[in-house]
Assembly symmetry: C2
Amino acid sequence: MSNAYTQLEKKFKRIHVLGDAAGMLHWDMASMMPKGGAEARAEQLALMATMGHGLMVESEMADLLDQAEEETGLNVWQSANLREMRRSHTHATALDEDLVEAMSRATSSCEQLWRQARPEGDFKKIVPALKEVLNLSRQKAKAKSEKLSCSLYDALLDQYEPEGKAAEIDPIFTRLEGFLPSFLQEVLEKQQDKSFKKPAGPFALEKQEALGKKFMAALGFDFDHGRLDVSLHPFCGGIPDDVRLTTRYDEADFTSALMGVLHETGHALYERALPKEWRNQPVGTARGMSIHESQSLLVEMQVCRSDAFLTYALPHMKEAFAGAGPEWSLDNFTNLYREVKADYIRVDADEVTYPAHVILRYKLERALIEGDMEVEDIPHSWNEMMQKMLGITPPSDREGCLQDVHWYDGTWGYFPTYTLGAMSAAQLFESALKALPSLDEEIAKGEFGSLFQWLNSNVHGHGSLHSSKELMIKATGKALDPEVFINHLKKRYS
Amino acid sequence: MSNAYTQLEKKFKRIHVLGDAAGMLHWDMASMMPKGGAEARAEQLALMATMGHGLMVESEMADLLDQAEEETGLNVWQSANLREMRRSHTHATALDEDLVEAMSRATSSCEQLWRQARPEGDFKKIVPALKEVLNLSRQKAKAKSEKLSCSLYDALLDQYEPEGKAAEIDPIFTRLEGFLPSFLQEVLEKQQDKSFKKPAGPFALEKQEALGKKFMAALGFDFDHGRLDVSLHPFCGGIPDDVRLTTRYDEADFTSALMGVLHETGHALYERALPKEWRNQPVGTARGMSIHESQSLLVEMQVCRSDAFLTYALPHMKEAFAGAGPEWSLDNFTNLYREVKADYIRVDADEVTYPAHVILRYKLERALIEGDMEVEDIPHSWNEMMQKMLGITPPSDREGCLQDVHWYDGTWGYFPTYTLGAMSAAQLFESALKALPSLDEEIAKGEFGSLFQWLNSNVHGHGSLHSSKELMIKATGKALDPEVFINHLKKRYS
């Protein structure tokens, strides 16, 4: 056993355990903390982040990484772990302290300003602050691209999608961009023959929670290793052995919160099944944001909006809310859960129009980072692309370029992972269906064991052993292929 | 402004903020965490404790303390802060690493064994493990007594009751010990004329919670800065700006859980009113366990079991549970909340018999630490003293010397703080009544503003500025005086 490598495992374990503790406190902040606890909590989290960063950047770490990379005899997991240690270290040390501090100040003040500017739809108000964030993000991209020997945009993408490359995303998104506008028209026309009606509430929150937990348990969620609570913005937090899901209920409509719970359950089941023997090591963590989103979307979009799942689920829904009448028919629920609509807001978008929202943002943020565009150009370009892809123009920037926090809080390079995730979900599910010929019937009976066994073997259990691309090739026989996603959309919507 | 002192403030702030974060995770562990999260949580807490200890024992800290103690120009708060920094540092550095590790191993295995031995009432089983803990606790007492220049027992007491001295406790406990047996007989005889009947349930848990929160709010608890949840063992956790109380409900009896909530609210209101400008500094924390317990017992015993409070509270109780009939009379509730009974279990004891339980443990643990007694002698001495003070002998060690975890998990020197707290509560409340002549009428109307204003000025707002003794002298005009507590008992029970 190599000495430097062994020391690195110990050091990274500390960093991860400290990060786990901070993760639990983040969950508490969003779901439990009274508002008066905010100031103290911010101090706790800042200190823990500083201490974690301190452990990463101590001079010994760089020496150990250099030494370990010269050592021989590491097995494939250890080698992959070392590779991911190096990646974390590179990202953590690429920026000098002045830039980190300037970025922290700029994003924090820009985000605060955004909270005012968004409801007012006042983009002009935020231009100077966003210019500062963009300027620093360009510097960040430059510093990281030098260390990672990659392009400016890829350096930012790598933070969320390790080894992701714009050059590989471009042809995929170009294919989608070509397909979507006419397909959308076709779907919208076809949809005019269909109608649906939302079941009328009120739906008691306790009953909604009980139903959500019933489906979570059916999917395989173990409540000895996690919880479901409420927060303003639903998320999957906590740690693999103690996953904390949140949702938000609406008394008037149970259908959205329920799908939200199922979405987060997909994230949770991924976390739960990460390789136990690599807990608290970089290689034991989830493989980037696109694969993570693929697991939530596989559950939500591929499984839970399928005919098979709705066949299984509808009787439970009816039982939970004593539902009766035509709006509780399978047909009505199928139409309800497959409504397609060209609309302004990304987070409310259906699976057909969602990619358009993402491609728009990806093209803009790339041009902005690469210096081909400036902040002042955003609203015009946004609206133009929106019109081109979805045939609509936002009535104001509130429904346009001010809707997402990402750019304002410095999260550049994140957007493509949403659609890469949706496409990976379709491709993985297609392979699961091939491997498990009776999967559809199982789902219709509420049996998910063989599906998750397949996902555990082909995705979850690999942690960060492979890149996303390798993972897809191993699991599905090929790299991400837009035709699979396109076929899924065609099959479901046309 | 002194330079070394300023640096110390920064260092202690980090230690405290890290401790705050750990405190929140402790609360989560007791109230929210699913059981499958235990192992990971233990790792998180151990790491945070190690990192906090690391910050305390780094060599620079000792130099800065030495330098700061030579500096001039500190104001009284700063001087007191420095004194408390020194105390923390002394306790943290008094033991060498081998002893710390041996203690950690010994207490952890002894506590686990105790969990088996207690239900079986098998003291013999635990003798070797407890001997090891006692042996190490004696070494700990020796090491700390040398650093603190005090007796062995005082060195352990100082951990929970800073500057507490057995020599000052002895005459107080001796007076109580002389008073209690005959007084108890008197009360028990008098009580034969009284009878009470517990209102019949079931009492829905949501209603119990709502009622508890109503009284908490009336007492001044701010739900923007805290929560009430459920845990197996009720406690007051969290931090001053985000206090997390817990309780445990019983559907068959709301009266105990309610008094438990009020008790923890006393702790909480102390934490909330600690001096805000000294947050995260040693001088800004609560002044030891006896004063902390005095605040919970002042609320529970002095205020909430008083005629005045019950007059105010009973209509709310009746309203909450639609209570009607003779068992919902003020008389019945007064008798119910003042039942005195010579019984075996400390945590279930009333305020008359409680001191006997504590004095017994204090005398035994002191003799054990000072080498005047050995582990094998515990059951016999326990039972003998129990018979002498309460006139009863435990049927087995399960109801005797195996009932409390304290000795088995290494918490030596803690017991006296319970009764010092009860006595301090009586003395502080007597002074509050003198200062606020209409306090009784206010309480009967559910008005607690002037009481807490007095407590804030005289206790809470001082943090750890004074020793407990000085605090009592400043607040009540004299050091702890057993006659005040005795008068309280006489007035209420005879």
